[in-house]
């Protein structure tokens, strides 16, 4: 074993802090966001050997350039927000549900299946209701299975839900291949089950639904008994058990809520946006949602801001990539850099870093002064 060096204070001391002011925390996050943008500009400049400022103008042009792009931004924002809301109650409970992708996909599958099998037999209004029930039920089933095993056998939920994603993807491809007899593997636009268009824009209904759900989830988490119970379970399972909370029940109930919201995502994707079924309809949003929810500190209202930032960067960088002819993966890199910057900045919000180099010298100087004072006093006493 290494010899312990005496009196060695580490250069950097890290301690937890809980007293940071809201403005300071916001400031640190803003710096991180700007840093991510600067990094993105540098990456673009290196790749293209050119002007980084073009990148920033493309970011805004791609998101706010035309009314069509603004509507797309709002719609993507709403969908990302909804799926982020879906994972949030589970995360607050420290149940790492990374299966939102699969839970939304089975919602897509269930909604699509209803259109495919009974779309012709019932009127559109009834069909939409049946689709809603089916999608939400499918999402619940997909989420509650890992929940039950976690509650009763403590099965690792991160790995379980991760695997369920791929089962859902295979399942969806299986049904598409059964439905499409031509062998092309592409299901065209389904005829029935389209949501009504409100106010001339097909996106408005989706946005309204998501806004209502955001408010409901915010109230559920901060004002209801259920919300309180799940945050206690998240903070300390032992405390929860001690004060008489049925932990198993809370885990299963919360996963039902998570799954139901994911099912709703699937329903909106099929009935309100794409009117078809493919395995990449959720498009990785189930994974992005985890980051969005975490960045917002599991607060539904902050989540509006974080999902806006992610959607903005994604859409803007995709537009920039098309304009520069860089290919679709460019936006992945930009969003990845953004996440790195924000993840790293959380450290400076949660922890205080103290450098011991300066303070040590100061202490020595202080000690020297104190010694001198003592010596003076002693001298005076002796003289007196």
């Amino acid at each position: 074993m290494a010899k312990v060096k005496a009196n060695k204070t580490p250069l950097v001391r890290i301690s937890k802090r809980t007293d940071i002011s809201g403005w300071k925390a916001l400031g640190i996050r803003a710096i991180a966001f700007v840093a991510a943008l600067v990094l993105g500009g540098i990456v673009t400049a290196i790749l293209l050997e050119g002007n980084p400022f073009k990148f920033y103008s493309y970011l805004f042009e791609g998101t706010f350039g035309t009314p069509r792009r603004i509507w797309k931004l709002l719609q993507d924002l709403a969908m990302l927000l909804l799926i982020s809301l879906a994972v949030t109650p589970a995360f607050k409970m420290r149940f790492w549900n990374i299966g939102a992708e699969g839970q939304a996909l089975v919602g897509v599958l269930a909604a699509g299946a209803m259109i495919f099998y009974i779309g012709d037999a019932v009127p559109n209004g009834v069909l939409i209701l049946i689709m809603a029930v089916a999608a939400v039920a499918a999402g619940i089933i997909w989420a509650v299975i890992p929940g039950i095993f976690k509650a009763y056998f403590n099965t690792n939920e991160t790995l379980f839900t991760l695997m369920m994603n791929y089962v859902a993807m295979c399942l969806i491809n299986y049904f598409i291949n059964i439905w499409v007899t031509s062998g092309s593997g592409v299901l065209g636009v389904l005829a029935g089950g389209h949501f009504p268009v409100i106010g001339g824009q097909p996106q408005i209904l989706t946005i309204i639904i998501v806004a209502v759900v955001t408010a409901l989830v915010a109230v559920y988490l901060s004002r209801s008994k259920h919300g309180y119970e799940l945050s206690v379970v998240g903070e300390s399972e032992n405390t929860a058990r001690y004060i008489g909370i049925n932990v198993k029940k809370v885990v299963i109930r919360t996963m039902i809520l998570s799954g139901a919201l994911c099912g709703l995502v699937g329903l909106l994707l099929v009935g309100g946006i794409h009117y078809t079924v493919t395995a990449d309809l959720v498009g990785g949003n189930g994974f992005t949602a985890i980051l969005v929810s975490w960045l917002a500190k599991f607060n539904p209202i902050y989540m509006i801001a974080t999902s806006f930032l992610v959607t903005f960067l994604n859409q803007g960088a995709t537009f920039a990539a098309d304009s520069f002819r860089l290919g679709g993966s460019f936006s992945d890199i930009i969003v990845g850099l953004f996440f790195f910057a924000i993840i790293a900045c959380e450290f400076f919000i949660n922890y205080k870093v103290t450098f011991n180099l300066k303070s040590k010298k100061k202490d020595e100087a202080k000690a020297a002064i104190v010694t001198e004072e003592v010596v003076e006093e002693v001298k005076e006493e002796v003289q007196g």
Binding site: M163, V167, T288, G327, F339
Partner: protein, 318 residues
């Protein structure tokens, strides 16, 4: 027929063996690195860049030598995947950020990096270079079916198996390995016993990332023969599944990878339609879930995930 299926299953399973061995080593330190798919992509792009630099440095393609064509991409791959692994540690160990979130961000980034740079790189000479990877042993053809199954592969297939065995032995039989397990099971206790939790986590994650990164190099230069495809991310997720399937033991990982590889290529050898193919593809995931459930119900100590898996360790929070 069966021999040829088995041969390609063994070959294909190498990417899983490397990925899962790297991830097992990482998870033993308590780091649930969900960035492994991205790190395998980064390893692949490192290999591609290394090979490109090596070929560019030659006067003509005729001067290509086995040593340079193999070693340069491997070294570059180690640099790329090692850096991403170190970055994961910087965020999760030093800066104490959430492991799941960091891992997912790394996967997004790594996959983006592969397809962005992979599209733009000059691939001349890659086909010749890949011959050095795919060449099997000379006597393989003389031994008939057996020789084909066992000896016809490129060196990385054997390299992966040896690496998995070495990692298994280190984890189970050496003092370092036992200390590593202690860090993954209970970092506070390990810390109290005088082990440096930070050093063990960094070392295990960086070495694990490098091993997983080799999986990307293998896929590009051996399996695809020097062309570039972007499906590595999906294999990375399967590698994480194999870690569970092999109950955190790299020596089981070799056989688990073989089973997964076999199931993955089986549809291409059988007369099934597209729909049935999807069902066969589903089997590995369903079986992994069953293994996860059964091991958690049986609750045997030897087949559990490391107890502190996915948790960040902060000394002052004990």
């Amino acid at each position: 027929m069966f021999a040829s299926i088995l041969t390609s299953a063994i070959r294909f399973s190498t990417i899983f063996t490397l990925g899962s061995t790297g991830e097992t080593l990482t998870e033993k330190s308590g780091n649930l690195n969900l960035g492994i798919p991205g790190i395998m992509c980064a390893g692949a792009i490192g290999g591609i860049i290394g090979e490109n630099i090596y070929i560019q440095s030659l006067g003509s393609i005729a001067e290509i030598s086995a040593f340079g064509a193999i070693v340069t991409p491997l070294i570059f791959s180690m640099i790329f995947s090692g850096l991403l692994g170190a970055f994961y540690c910087l965020l999760t160990v030093t800066l104490k950020c959430n492991q799941n979130v960091t891992g997912l961000a790394i996967t997004t980034f790594g996959a983006g990096l592969l397809s962005l740079l992979g599209n733009r790189i000059d691939k001349t000479g890659f086909a010749q270079a890949s011959l050095f990877f795919t060449d099997g042993m000379d006597f393989a053809s003389k031994l008939g079916g057996f020789g084909q199954v066992v000896f016809s592969h490129g060196f990385m297939v054997y390299f992966a198996i040896i690496l998995a065995i070495i990692v298994a032995v280190i984890i189970k039989r050496t003092r370092t390995g036992l200390s590593l397990q202690a860090v993954g099971e209970n970092p506070a206790t390990a810390d109290a016993a005088g082990l440096s939790v930070t050093n063990y986590k960094y070392a295990a994650t960086i070495i694990g990332s490098m091993i997983a990164g080799f999986g990307g190099v293998f896929y590009i230069f051996d399996y695809l023969g020097g062309s570039i495809e972007y499906t590595i991310e999906a294999y990375g997720w399967l590698a994480i599944a194999i870690v569970i399937f092999s109950v955190w033991k790299p020596n089981f990982g070799i056989f688990s990878s073989l089973i997964f590889g076999f199931l993955y290529i089986l549809p291409y050898y059988t007369q099934v339609n597209f729909a049935q193919m999807e069902l066969i593809k589903m089997v590995p995931y369903v079986v992994t879930i069953l293994v996860l459930i059964v091991t958690s119900i049986m609750n045997r100590k030897e087949s559990q995930p490391p107890a502190a898996l996915g948790l960040t360790y902060f000394r002052e929070e004990r």
